[in-house]
Each structure stands twice: as structure tokens, then as C-alpha cells.
Symmetry: D2
Subunit: 335 residues, 4 copies
């Protein structure tokens, strides 16, 4: 692949970064130029993630040596990401940032939830990288903020309703596998704490809430979402169960029609007849969605399943890169 675009993965020792490295490494039009790590420099990716089978030595990021690439996927925590993104942009690399640093358009809201921002001058440049909604803007962007995993599933599930402007109240009950909590060992992610357990967390205070509210408003339905996340005894997979109150009744026919149109020309949106299980989308960039008008209560119930590491992080980053470089949206991540 002499003419493959060179892509750097920054922060490859975490789950999302490592998977991004694998997807780039196998991609028909990208070449993996390197993988950096702050915590595990000197070790190989194969040592940390044998099943990815990516032959790369993790190294400290040296922006002068590593920055001259066509693109980078940055998989740092929020706060740490912004300055690295700025440095890469300064060298001309297009960037998909997996952190929260460039997702929120309102700096005040950002700083309320996350603290001081590390590269405020770029704050307005980023495109929110949900390709099913912002595909054209992504194609023209140099900096894309990859959405959070919960917002990805929630927004793909609620977009047809939100765009109608009729949504007045949303409850999102989110359920995630443990890889969503990251690779750092802790009491919370110890096998014994997770096994045979289900635990709510981030109740009423999860950082993905302002992101969901921002985008539901942008779609046409300004609401304050009620949100609770739950950690479940599985590895990869995320389900959001959404309970939506609308200002006018939605029949099942109207629901089916709206969701049918939503799936058209969106290769990773699958509208299914029965509520999906997260296994149905494991190791894929697909979001499976089932929407039901509940005649008893008048609410619309929407269930959306993704793989939190794929569509919720790494493969969505590749989908964004594909668009940024004029490639087929599905290149390297075919459903």
C-alpha cells in the first residue's frame, strides 16, 4: 500500500486505542504509522492484547518524530487529549479525538463538567463525529470529536423522534459492559466485584448527559435527559433503553415509517423488529435499534445496542476517518 494514508494512534494501551490500532493495521487504505503509550512504552501491543495480533512496539509520543502523519486517532483521557490534539493539528495531521475534549460546543458547559480546557482555541473547530447525523461536516473536517459511547447509542436510537421536535421528556437507562470502564485495575473492575452483579453508577451525574442534551436539542428537541448507567457482567456491549414522552401521540406506523427512513443509506443503522441484544452487534460498527409505540402509556420505547469499543469508540473513529479521506464509509469496518 505505497499510497496508503499514514495514521498514528496516540494512546494505544487502552482498550479503544488498541482496537483502533488493529482496525488501522488491517485497513485497506490506511497504514499504521505507530502506536504511542504513556504507561506502557517499550512493551509490544501483542503483549498487552495478544488477540489483536498487531506487531507494534508502543512508544512514548514524540510529536516531532510522530506528528508528520496524514491523520491521528487520539485515545487519551479528557483533559490530556486537548494539548496533544492541538500539537498534531499544528503539524497538519487530521485528528479524530476519542476524548470528551471537543464534543461540547459550549465552553461553559464543558468547564462545568470537566474543568479547564487545554486548547480552547480549537474549541469551535471540531465537528461532532456522529456520521449518521453529521456526515457532510465530518467529510470536510480536520478535527472530529468522536462521540461518547452512551451518546452514540442514544442519539442513533432517538434521532428520528428528536428530529420531529415532538420529544418532551427522555429517560435513558444505559447498560454497559466492563470494557467501558477502562483498563486500569480497580476494586470496581475486579472480576469478583462485577461477576453475578449489576450496579448502577453515574446516577444523575454522568458526563455524557450534557452531550446527549446538546445533540437532542440540535436535532430539534431540547430536553433535559434523565440518565442512569449500569455496569453489567460482560466485556463489550452497550444497550440504552430509552423511555420517551412526546407532545403528540406516535402510532407504531409512524414509528416504523420514521425509523425505516432513518436506516436508509446508513449502512451501520439496523432497525430490527425485536429489541436487540448486545451480542447481535458485538465486534461490529453496527447500531441495532428497535422502537415501540406503547399504547398503554403513550410513550415510545427505544432500545439501541452497540459495541461500546467499536461503534462506541474505535470503529466509529475509523468511520469518521473514512469520510475525512473520501473513502467509502464502510472501508475496513464492513458490517
Amino acid at each position: 500500500m505505497a499510497d496508503a494514508r499514514r495514521v498514528l494512534v496516540v494512546g494505544g494501551s487502552g482498550y479503544a486505542g488498541a482496537l483502533a490500532a488493529r482496525l488501522i493495521d488491517r485497513h485497506p487504505a490506511f497504514a499504521l504509522s505507530g502506536v504511542t503509550s504513556r504507561s506502557d512504552a517499550g512493551r509490544t501491543l501483542n503483549e498487552l492484547y495478544p488477540h489483536h495480533r498487531v506487531d507494534a512496539v508502543l512508544r512514548e509520543l514524540d510529536i516531532d518524530r510522530d506528528g508528520g502523519v496524514d491523520a491521528a486517532i487520539v485515545a487519551y483521557p479528557h483533559g490530556a487529549a486537548a494539548p496533544v490534539v492541538a500539537a498534531l493539528r499544528a503539524r497538519g495531521a487530521r485528528v479524530v479525538d476519542l476524548s470528551a475534549d471537543f464534543r461540547l460546543r459550549d465552553r461553559d458547559i464543558y468547564e462545568r463538567w470537566y474543568g479547564t480546557h487545554g486548547a480552547p482555541e480549537l474549541f469551535g473547530d471540531a465537528v461532532y463525529g456522529l456520521p449518521e447525523v453529521y456526515g457532510e461536516q465530518v467529510a470536510a473536517a480536520d478535527l472530529v470529536a468522536n462521540p461518547g459511547c452512551y451518546p452514540t447509542a442514544t442519539l442513533l436510537g432517538l434521532a428520528p423522534l428528536a428530529r420531529s421536535g415532538t420529544v418532551t421528556d427522555v429517560v435513558v437507562d444505559a447498560k454497559s459492559g466492563v470494557s467501558g470502564a477502562g483498563r486500569a485495575p480497580s476494586q470496581k473492575t475486579h472480576f469478583v466485584a462485577i461477576d453475578e452483579n449489576v450496579v448502577p453508577y453515574g446516577v444523575g451525574a454522568h458526563r455524557h448527559m450534557p452531550e446527549i442534551d446538546q445533540e437532542l436539542a440540535a436535532l430539534g428537541s431540547p430536553v433535559t435527559t434523565t440518565f442512569a448507567a449500569h455496569l453489567m457482567p460482560l466485556d463489550q456491549g452497550e444497550l440504552v433503553s430509552c423511555y420517551v414522552t412526546t407532545s403528540e401521540p406516535w402510532s407504531q406506523e409512524r414509528v416504523d415509517d420514521a425509523y425505516g427512513r432513518w436506516a436508509q443509506n446508513r449502512p451501520f443503522v439496523e432497525v430490527v423488529a425485536s429489541p436487540p441484544g448486545v451480542r447481535d452487534v458485538r465486534d461490529s460498527n453496527v447500531c441495532a435499534i428497535c422502537a415501540r409505540a406503547d399504547a398503554r402509556t403513550g410513550k415510545v420505547l427505544v432500545f439501541a445496542a452497540i459495541d461500546n469499543l467499536w461503534k462506541g469508540a474505535a470503529s466509529q473513529a475509523v468511520q469518521n476517518l473514512n469520510l475525512m479521506f473520501g473513502l467509502p464509509e464502510t472501508a475496513g469496518i464492513e458490517p
Copy 2:
């Protein structure tokens, strides 16, 4: 225990019946008079459930031989339970019925959800066996309808709110371990179908909904509950996440006060500061509850965890029997 009350378990090859047999077998004031089974007569309980260590041979129910007991726990499916309950009552045995046959007080609603009733003459005699709400009536009853597992957790979690009469809308997102689906093998309960999966089921059509609505109304808040259940990759355990809209705002102080009073003198109600995991109540009759006033949205969020086979079925049956025989509520099922 010459003077122990003799208790028969009808339907001991299922999970709940087998556990009931174990709890009766170890109980300080009850003696296990026998365990019946339609499907596995002739086999031993130890064969089916080695870890229960109950030395009993399962036998076909012979009402003439088996019916002369002080009490029976009936663990048959709905529909099959009612005639057996009637036959046992006719012989004077006090009965706790684990099925849905005597939970609903409105026969029309029963028949809409379950079909023709098998013992309508008893329909009005049964007490709804949620001891934390109906303790006095249970103590005086000869026939107790043990609540469904989801109603148990939901009602214990919402009672303080519902009794205030201020509840106007309830969303219940319920999550259950697989033992709740019963012992019969099926594609849905195959290990490979459950492992690494989370699947919604019973969306907008679960039979526990009318039961929840009936009891929330009885507590003071008539609402039509929105309900969805989810099957999770664990054995025992159930969490209900409840999103409650109220007619007037509830501060965290008011919430804490109401739930603090709710836990008083109810030995199996534990009000906890952080949302509970289902492991916290495994193999116990405890319901752990956390309630949060969500200042952002004005809703109250309530998380209630039980063991679906214990408080959601077998140990709650024992709790009811304790009350029916004037024993300490906690006998044999101490937290």
C-alpha cells in the same frame, strides 16, 4: 421438633420450589412434610439441586395423602396453581401460592392477562403477600398470593413515594438474572444466548405490570407504569431502576426522611446511600433501596435490588408463612 408445623412444597423441581424446600427443611419451626413434582417424580432433590442438600424424594402430588398438612407452598405456574390451591385449602392447609393466580384483585384484569381462572371462588380470599405493606392481613390470612419478583422490588422501592399520593408517572427498567426465566431449557436460556448479552423482553406487555399498577394505586398513586424487563448474564439477582415523576417536587431531604421511616421496623428493607448491586442481597431476603432526588430533572430515581429467587419468591413465601403462624418474621431467613 415434635411440634413443628408440617409444610408441604408443591412443585419442587423448579428453582423457587426447590429453594422453598431447602428453607423449610432448615427452618427452626417448620418441618418439611414432602416435596412434589409433576416432571421429576421419583428423582431426589439432591440429584436436581445438589447444593441444596435436602434429602427428599420428589413425588407426584396425591392430595389425599399429602394434603393433611399445616401449610403448603405452591410453586406451580399460573393456571395450574389455582385448582391445587383450592384442593389444599379444602383440606384446611394454609397456602402461600407463588403463582400469579391470586395476586390480582380484579378478575377481568386477571383473565385479560392470564386467561380463565381455575378457582374463581377463592379469588377474593387471598391476601397480597408483600409483608412490608400487608403484614397484618397476612398474619390473619389462610391464603397468601406471593408477589411477583418485579412487583416485589418495585413496590418496596416505590412505596414511600406512592403512599404520598404524589406519583404521576413511573418508568421501571427491570433487570433480572436468568433463574427468573425458570428451569426449563430453551434457546433463550441456553448459556450461549445469555453469555456476553443483555436482551430486553416483555416490553410493554409483561404480566407483572397490572400487578404493579394495582398495588401502586392501593398505596395511593394510581398510575399506568411503563415497564421493560432485561435478561442479564447472571444467575440470581434483580434490579429495578425506577424513574418517577411527581406532582410536586421532592427534595433529597424529604426523600431521605420518607425512606428512613420506611425502613424502620422492616427487617428486610435496607435503605443504602449508594445504588445497590444485586450481589449485596444475593441469597438473602433483603431488599436494598437507594432513592435520589434528581435536581436536574425534578424526577426521583429509585434503585431496588433483591434476589429474585429469595425475596422475589421462596424466602418471601417463608416470611409470609412466619407471619401466618405467629412466628418472628425473620425466623429461618435472618438477614
Copy 3:
């Protein structure tokens, strides 16, 4: 792919057949001509296996309509497979058979373990499809007997020792995920029976034993293997822990040398420094092997991990098909 070879999958409703259909469907040089099923004809593969995303309707096998293909993968149980294989061979299709029907070369041994054989005339024609050992014969074969999952892992792990002729005793402690037990629901594969459990099975009587003995002898070390299998709470994955007594001492150096040579030019054999976990090979055709000379006891300990549905069944079938059609061994199943 106008010139793609047309491949039929017979028995596509089971785990291995369905995966074979997916691998053929995505293969660069094969086209999926159809998928048959005895139990689920009329349903779609997507209904049974949404995550495979293969757009095919399962149909009853009609040998006249379906038999005119370049090749078939037969995924029937032993006994049922032989006549279908014979019918397909009679129409000229090359066949890879996943059952045990053509693995054993001694008909007496076959009939002792499996009963009467359904196509004895083909008994001698089949090649044992372990490509790492019989690659040349497979390339020339029209009928290949895909090895059992346990023999695959065991033989790949022990070949370097067995070929030396120094093996005098072998204990194989095998551990398998539940998909190895097949898709049919039963008490044994119920989630609740498997979860938090490990259960030995097939102790001293597993049908894979004569297959292992046959091939160890063919490699140069005739022994009677001691074998016990264990069912573990996971979906896909198989580990064999082999405890080998030899007629002369093997130093770690000799072990390393023999295994290093074994991995050469075998793209799916990975010799690793630490005992592998089954996750390392999940969803791949790789067998990861670690061999240790145990100075304390003089034994050699070998740990070999495969994915029982991939290298233990479906992807090994594709590997065999690749060789049978002169394609690169790794086509469509790259590590």
C-alpha cells in the same frame, strides 16, 4: 466474483455450520451457494445468528438441486453425515465433513465408539484434515474429515513431541466453552447450570480419545491417552493442558527448538512464552501453544488454546478448502 467456487453449507443452524456459512460468505474466492438445515428450514440465518449478518434463507437439503456445487461443508452429527457426504461426492462435489464419520481409519474402532457406519465405501478415501500435519494430502483430497476440536488442540500441541517417538504416557485435561456442546437446549447447557460452575464430563469415555490415539501413533508415538473434558462458563474457547511422560529427558532447550521448528511455515501455529489464555485466540484460526520441561518431575507440560468453533471446526474447514482448491492457506481466515 464470477469465477468464485460455489460452496454449499449443509447443516447451517448449528454453531459450526452457521460460522462456516459466514466465513464462506465473506471469503475472497468462495461464494456461498446455499445453507441447509433440517430443523430450521424456512428461517433466515439472520434470525438465528444476527451477529453473523449472512443474508440467507435456510432450506431443506435437496441433493438434486443443491448438490451441483464445487464443494460442500457438511455440519451434521456423526451418523447423519456419512450418507449426505456420499451423495455429495457422487455428484462430484469436494467435501469437508465436520462430523466424526471419516476421521477414524479403523472401521472396527469407529463402530465400537459410534455404531454402524453410513457410507463404508468411502471409509478409506478421506484425509484427516489437520493441515499442519497432512497439508499435502489435503491438497490432493476430495474428501476431508475435519478433526474434532479436542484432537485439533491436542495434536497441534503434542506433534513435536510425538514425532520424536519418545512419548510414553499422555494425560490430557481439556477445558471447553459451552458452544462445544452444541445449540440444542438442555439442562446441561442452561445458563444457570453452567454459570459459576466447572463440571468434568466424558471422563475416560470421550469419543475424541481414539482419534487422538490414532494420530499420536501416526506421528510416531503409540500411546493410550488419559483424557477428561471439563465444561466451563464461557462461550467459545478451548484449552488442553497436556502432561507428557517421555522415554528420555527433554530439556527446555530441546523443547524450544522442537516447537520453534514446528511453528515455522505454519501460519496458524503460535508458540508463546507463557501459557496462553483462550481469549488470545478467540474468533481466529490460531492455535497458541506453550511447552515447558518440568525439571521437578521430568515431564513436559504443554498448553494449547484454540477457538473450538473456529480452528476446532469452521475455520479449519475453510483452511482445508483453501488447500483443496490451491488457494493460500490463510485466504479468508487471516490470523
Copy 4:
């Protein structure tokens, strides 16, 4: 319980210590005098282990304040345990030590595997606390070394063979749930590393090997055991699969006779007809054993299952304490 014996638990923040605290707290003849912790002093046991429901504040050990008890269970790591045991013994407390510090009778062997010993003067005083073998000595002892979990299962499983003096070779393939790896978070115990995985560890170098060899020799069969442990995706439970070569053939009749006698008067030894699953003994002090003469190979195969935290640690400590104080062996830990 005015006259209950006062028992201190030293090291109650780990899994085994916490369970010991719960068992003592519920025991009919013991009273929990306190629970100490080096890492979590000031926190409550309920905070760390809500499901144990033990109302105790963890505190730093103050030997002057805490040492005046009738007995102590010490749940420190090896090396750290010995000096604390010595201090408690100096104050007259009887001690059951869960560490390895007093299990080995040969100081050289101890120091080869564990390093310098912290209280060599007590080295010869301890009794090896496998009550099924050393019950009389335990009853007379002031210091009992609770066996390791693997030795417990292995020795209970092999004792009838070992006592015959006919054992010439033993392979132990051990499989453990994750609680055996302790509560400290690490990459190895992260949910994502364990889930859907099985990983060998301690191959040829596990510290439980010299302990097994010491006791097999004491029983009458001096051998050098081949041992490999495997970490499995479950919480509590341990299975040892033992492959035994004997100097003379054992028929199944002889096996059955020897194991039948072994189970007599040993309330926690259960000899079962089919290889046991670890679920069968979960949360109990029982060891379930199945022994099979393998006619094909002449070996005897023995499968023994325990709960690693119960019979493998905490409940066996209580069994030892029961004997040390002349109580019924099963007090507080009835099967």
C-alpha cells in the same frame, strides 16, 4: 451468649478474613471480638462486603488491646502472618493461621519457597489443619496451620489412594475461581482479563506443591506431584482433576470401597457417583469427590470440588476452631 468464646479475626479486609468474620459472627458458640485490617482500618465490613452483613468497624491490630481473646483467625499473607501469630500465642490465644507460614514441617523447604521465616521458634508447634486427616491432633493444638486451598481439595481427594502406599505418580490439574487470587486489583483480576478466558498459571512452580508432596508422603505415598493451576471465569469454586498412577491396579470396586470408608464419619466429605461441579459445594464446607478407575489406561482419576473461600480457607478455619474448643465439628458450618 455470655459464655461464648471470643474470637478475633486478624486481616478482615481480604475475602477469606471477611468470610471468617461472618462465620464467627453467626456462630452459636463463638463471639466476634473484633476485626482488624492493615489497609482499610476505619472502614466498616459492611462497606467492603455488604452481603456479609457483619456490623463491625475494621481497626488496626493493637496486640495489647486485641490479643486477650480465646482465639484468633489470622488471615495475613505468608511472611506477615508469623510474627502476629507469635504475638497472639504469647498472649495465650489459640490461633488458626490461614497463611502458609506454619504448613510446612521442613524449614529448609519453607525457606526455599517462601524466604526467611518470621517465627522459627513456633515452627514445630503447629498442626496441619486438615481435620479429616489430623482431627485428633487439631483437637489438642493451640496453633493450627490451615491448609492451602489446592492442598485441601487434592489431599481430601487422594487420601484413600495415598494411604494405601500404592501411588507412584500424580498429575493435579487445578482450576480455581478468581477469589482465590485475592482482593487486590490487578491486570490479572480485571474483569475483562478473566471473562471468556481460561488461563494456566503457576505451572511447575506453585507454592502449594511442596505442601501437597509433604502430606501425600505423610499419608504413605511419597511422590513428586506434577501441578498446574488455571484461573477460570467464576468467583468462588475450585476443582482439582487428579490423574493417579499406582503401583498395582485398582478396580472400581476397590476404589468405591476405599472412598466409601473415607466418607464415613467425615461430615464434610461427600463421595458422589458423577464428577462434581463446583456449584455443588458453593458456600459450604463440603468437599465433593468422585473417583474412577480408568480401565483403558490403568490410572485412577479423582475429581474433588470445594469452595476455595470456605473449605479452602474460612470455613475450614472454623472447623478447626470447633475441634480446638471441643465443639461439634459442624457447629456454625453445617453442610
